[in-house]
């Protein structure tokens, strides 16, 4: 080809109809409105002398005064902090040990264990608490069996240490993932050097490996502590009988108290909790480099294990298996059994008490049936919408020259630090103050969906960002140079390459949204019930059987969806999200 045939005039690419800056501004505004929006009416409500739905009202600090004057509130803080501290210690210690056993020792079945250990965080948290109660609670199946038949005491899970154990077993995967990621990333030649210098494996573990884990442990501890403070199901279901009140259950009870509901001081308490959670988030950001937050987990398989367990290989594996059986499998089996029998008791063989009544309730009772339907709709629509929206926001944050892009990662991670009930209260006030749109959202399931989506949106970002970071920026620059605008480049080049992460994010959000409950407890009304909120309220009213059946529905959906996700796209490997 010569210069003459090469040179040809092509039409110049046309500018797109919607300019990129407009799209970017709208995305940013929507992110900020959805995430920061609900906190403004919350703070406002905490500074008024009467609820926002009543006319009039003046600014006042009374709600705070009232709250601070209530000794029950301070006692609740004490309980909450003690519980959170104990949960954190247990979860972090356990998670770190399992991580070391799975990635630095030749534990039997280590690959399988490093997958199974993730289950508790993915299974429905409220359902798991119910499972614990059915099996290990006062009068629970195994509790009675141990005390009546074997005369052996079990740990009372309706005490603070017991509740901490339940919470720790749920959050242990976070510590595991964070430590495992750190161990995978760590330069193993540091350990090899110590061995060459003559140190025995255990010495290496103590002098090199564990000190290397310190940042990961601190990071996991802060996150687990934040999440424990926000726990609602545990104090409501386990604490009530012994009158142990946490801040979250204090706020819940004050809000729902039929005799004297006090939205003002509930909002004030929520603001305090929010402040504590925000402080912890800021602390965590200081502990971590910006990038280190996002680690994808993938094991180095070929390497020889540092620690040879020899005779301990199988016994330790057995201990770990027993742990998983008693904290995860047994509660689920208990729930399953409970849903099929009239009463669950070791005194009568279960098959003599078989009934399908509880499952029939799910189909016949309008509350139960509509909860399942609503949750399914919310989870599908919410997961799709959130994934799409977060994908767009992530592109604006990391692949545009939008002036405020640097604010987006922090804003998008913020709901992770916020207790679910606070998001619920915030949206309650926000809907109340936004006229017709608010009324529509308040009266339909979409209001709950928005709250669930905002609550779980950080997960989508945490899943998508590392994949996006691995897509070279020259690929989209090449698209721009070829004449495509920002949005067209994103659509035809970046998003197709992001597909695995988008799918993983959808699966995770679906599971999290269908199992979520605490933002909804302040938003549900007849007709807009969702599974988690129904389980909570019906369990408190004593409907143990049907609630167990409902929990089984949640567990089944979760397991099936995760299995599909794992099969199609190996989500197990991206499970790193919870550690972030």
């Amino acid at each position: 080809m010569s210069a003459a045939t090469y040179e040809r005039t092509f039409p110049r690419p046309r500018r797109s109809l919607v300019p990129a800056w407009a799209l970017q501004w709208w995305t940013w505004l929507l992110v900020v409105a959805l995430i920061v929006g609900p906190y403004i009416p919350l703070v406002y409500a905490s500074l008024r002398d009467r609820p926002l739905y009543e006319a009039g009202g003046v600014f006042t600090l009374d709600p705070y005064r009232q709250l601070f004057g209530d000794s029950v509130f301070w006692h609740a803080w004490l309980n909450t902090l003690g519980f959170a501290a104990l949960s954190t210690v247990l979860a972090v210690a356990g998670g770190a040990v399992v991580a070391i056993l799975c990635s630095r020792a030749d534990l039997a079945g280590r690959k399988l264990f490093s997958r199974l250990i993730l289950l508790p965080i993915l299974l429905p948290s409220l359902g798991m608490v119910l499972g614990w109660i059915v099996v290990w609670g006062p009068g629970g199946y195994l509790t009675s069996m141990f005390s009546d038949r074997l005369h052996a005491p079990t740990l009372a899970i309706d005490t603070i240490p017991g509740m901490a154990l339940v919470e720790a077993s749920r959050l242990l995967p976070i510590a595991f993932l964070t430590c495992q990621a750190a161990l995978t990333r760590a330069d193993s030649s540091l350990e090899d050097a110590a061995r060459s210098a003559g140190a025995r494996p255990l010495r290496v573990l103590g002098s090199v490996t564990i000190p290397m884990l310190r940042p990961a442990i601190l990071n996991a501890a802060t996150l687990i502590f934040t999440l424990s403070i926000a726990a609602l199901g545990i104090p409501l279901l386990l604490g009530t009988s012994n009158n142990i009140v946490f801040v979250s259950s204090y706020l819940y009870n004050t809000w729902t108290s039929a005799s004297a509901p006090d939205p003002g001081s509930v909002s004030a308490g929520a603001v305090m909790m929010l402040a504590a959670a925000t402080a912890l988030l800021l602390l965590r950001n200081r502990l971590l480099g910006a990038e280190a937050r996002f680690v994808s987990v993938g094991g180095k398989s070929g390497r020889q294990a540092l620690l040879r367990l020899r005779g301990w290989r199988w016994p330790l594996a057995a201990v770990l298996a027993l742990y998983l059986v008693f904290t995860t499998l047994v509660p689920i089996l208990g729930l399953a059994l409970m849903s099929f029998v009239v009463v669950l008791t070791p005194l009568v063989a279960p098959w003599e008490l078989l009934t399908s009544a509880h499952w029939n309730v799910l189909l016949d009772d309008p509350t139960f049936r509509s909860s399942i339907e609503n949750s399914a709709v919310i989870a599908v629509v919410g997961a799709v919408a959130t994934t799409a929206f977060v994908a767009l926001a992530t592109l604006v944050a990391h692949r545009s020259r939008f002036p405020l892009r640097k604010t987006l990662p922090f804003v998008m991670l913020y709901p992770r630090a916020t207790p679910g009930i606070i998001i619920g209260i915030g949206f309650f006030w926000a809907y109340l103050l936004t006229g017709a749109l608010g009324d529509f959202l308040r009266d339909s399931i979409w209001g709950i969906m928005v709250a669930f989506c905002v609550r779980n949106l950080p997960l989508a970002y945490i899943v998508m960002y590392p994949t996006l970071a691995r897509i070279g920026e020259e690929l989209d620059r090449a698209g721009r140079a070829a004449g495509a605008g920002w949005w067209r480049t994103c659509r035809t080049i970046v998003l197709p390459l992001l597909k695995p992460a988008i799918f993983a994010s959808f699966i995770l959000l679906f599971v999290e949204i269908i199992n979520d409950y605490d933002p909804a407890v302040f938003l549900v009304r007849p007709g807009t019930e969702v599974m988690g909120a129904t389980m909570l309220s019906q369990f408190i009213q004593g409907m143990v059987g049907p609630v167990s059946a409902l929990a089984m529905v949640q567990v089944a959906i979760t397991v099936v969806v995760l299995a599909i996700g794992a099969k199609v796209f190996r989500i197990g490997a991206t499970g790193g999200e919870h550690g972030a």
Partner: protein, 356 residues
Amino acid sequence: MPEIRVEGLVKEFGDQRALDDVSFSVEDGELFTLLGPSGCGKSTTLMSIAGFQTPEQGRIAVGEETFFDAARRLAVPAEQRNLGIVFQSYAVWPHMTVFDNLAFPLRVRKLKRDAIRTRVREVLELVEMAQYERRYPHQLSGGQQQRVALARALVYSPAVLLLDEPFSNLDAKLRERARAWVKELQHRLGLTTIFVTHDQDEALSMSDRVAVMSAGEVQQIGAPEDVYRRPANRFVAEFVGRVNLIEGVAAADGGVVVVDVTGSQHRLTVRGADGASGNVTVAVRPEAVTVLPAEDASANGTNTWEADVGTVAFLGDHYEYEVTIGSLALTVQSSRRVEGERVRVHIPPDACTVVG
């Protein structure tokens, strides 16, 4: 094809000046190279021309069209500049076939299906990749991916071609072939090209003109021979090729300049350095110096001295001598092997350049 004019670009990252008053212009059909070590601002300059960086000051124009003018707050978006770019990583889109990679810019330009098909075929043939049309990038070798990247940059017949270190990911053998091939193509199509590299061999062998950059500033612009033989300053002398630097005090003496070499009795005669005086540094390329046996009496006169041989290294096509003339140490390259611990060296006055 048009001329490119870059005027007074300034770009700061924090308090770091990445570009400090960068100006040059590229002639129609010329292959112009930005050469310099990493962090010198060459890539920032290229990305400013492409529209991926926005400088704080300056002006960029291609032909009649102004792409960027800080004073007028004008910055044409990258996708409207109609430039062809080959990136260091090639940036061939991994989820598209070779055909789709090339078709993309044409689809953006709303060409008809048939026209796209014909043009993609044409350009693939130009880069000798026609038979790989249906392959995906991961099924191609590095060299083939590079051809696809180049074809994609050329398919819409852009006004200007920008090459960002396109050869640095190829192995040594392939790199040499790729250089010759790109140069030939550029010349045949008469493409106005800006080429960024840190490799001086690449710059010297391919360019019509070279701009040597350091610390955000253009140090020298000239034909490869000029830059090599007449470096404008110490940085250029040291960065482009190897060099002996001789310090001394200069004074005019008849038609030449004579330099009293610091710490030595020798006086170095330099030609073509009119007006140099005071403390100077003189640059001499190792291959410009001649080595002769010590007893060779024919070599006598200007800039010819006896020297002690330190080490001799055999490098295949030449020998490299480390010699000392009194306290003056020199590196000398020669295709001749001269035996003995003492030799005579001659530095031609023409081969000396005062660089500061």
